[in-house]
Amino acid sequence: MSSVARMTISPRDAERYEEKDFGFWLYLMSDAVIFACLFATYLVMVGNTAGGPTPKDVFELDRAAAETALLLLSSTTFGVAAVALSAGDRGKVLLWLAVTFLLGAGFIFLEIGEFTGMIAQGAGPDRSGFLSAFFTLVGTHGFHVSVGLVWIVVMFAQVFFKGLTAPVASRFMRLGLFWHFLDIIWVVIFSVVYLPGVL
């Protein structure tokens, strides 16, 4: 039951990882500010439907609930992967990273279906201020999740080829910050966009 970090990490390296963690945290905070601007824009624009579809017409609560479930579960499975990492169990890290990837991919699959369905019924981003703001906000989140998926693949390959070394573990923890952060943004999205939209 040897912990990875304790085996290999020198105080100097640890300090470097800590600096990287802080830098990445600053990036996440700036990302949060970007999302806040998009949320403010959405809230200002949500009433401006220009005679087009309203939130009630285009939002499906079932789909939003399924998307929420996938993302929330993927956050938990990433946590299970982190537990496996701290136990030094490489096989389990790979397994749970793969599960996390599949859940995240399921989320993106549903979202793409939602977007294409809306565009097909004439509710694309060019229809009204409300829809422009909606696609920008939710699309930006979806883009982040997609980037997260790419990162998970890269992480999977690093764990597979390099093993649970200290630099890999350090990157893994930052990926965790990113992935859980996206879940928080999604909580705000369903609370600000979908639920008030169908009320």
Binding site: S3, V4, A5, R6, I9, P11, A14, E15, Y17, E18, D21, F22, W25, L26, M29, S30, A32, V33, A36, C37, F39, A40, T41, L43, V44, L61, A64, A65, T68, L72, L73, S75, T76, G79, V80, A82, V83, L85, S86, A166, A169, S170, M173, L177, H180, F181, D183, I184, V187, V188, F190, S191, V192, Y194, L195, P196, V198, L199
Partner: protein, 106 residues
């Protein structure tokens, strides 16, 4: 447990399971309220907002492991600063735009 120099790597399953249970609860209630519409719209919106704030706190503490003891102080300062900016931008935008809207309608 913290490694000598601060890189936290030790994780147990417990916080993730507690976090999941709380998050499921805090998600199911607002979705249920929105789906059934049992309460008046205004009340429902307030409950949704309150539960969202609670769920963000749950995610921060159980998934991201942010707390006042082990999280480096500068991370907390950055978080607090971001919250101030978010408050100014969201609150300010809504205040200005809805005030403007109101004045132009009347």
């Amino acid at each position: 447990m913290e490694i000598k120099s601060g890189l936290q790597i030790e994780r147990t399953i417990k916080p993730y399971l507690i976090g999941l249970a709380l998050a499921v609860l805090l998600t199911a209630i607002p979705f249920g309220l929105a789906a059934t519409g049992v309460l008046p719209r205004e009340t429902t919106l307030i409950i949704i907002a309150a539960l969202a704030v609670l769920q963000i706190l749950v995610h921060l503490s159980f998934f991201l492991h942010i707390d006042f003891k082990t999280t480096p102080r500068e991370n907390l300062v950055a978080l607090a600063f971001a919250l101030v900016l978010i408050f100014i931008m969201v609150g300010g935008s809504l205040w200005i735009m809805f005030d403007l809207y109101h004045r132009m309608m009347v």
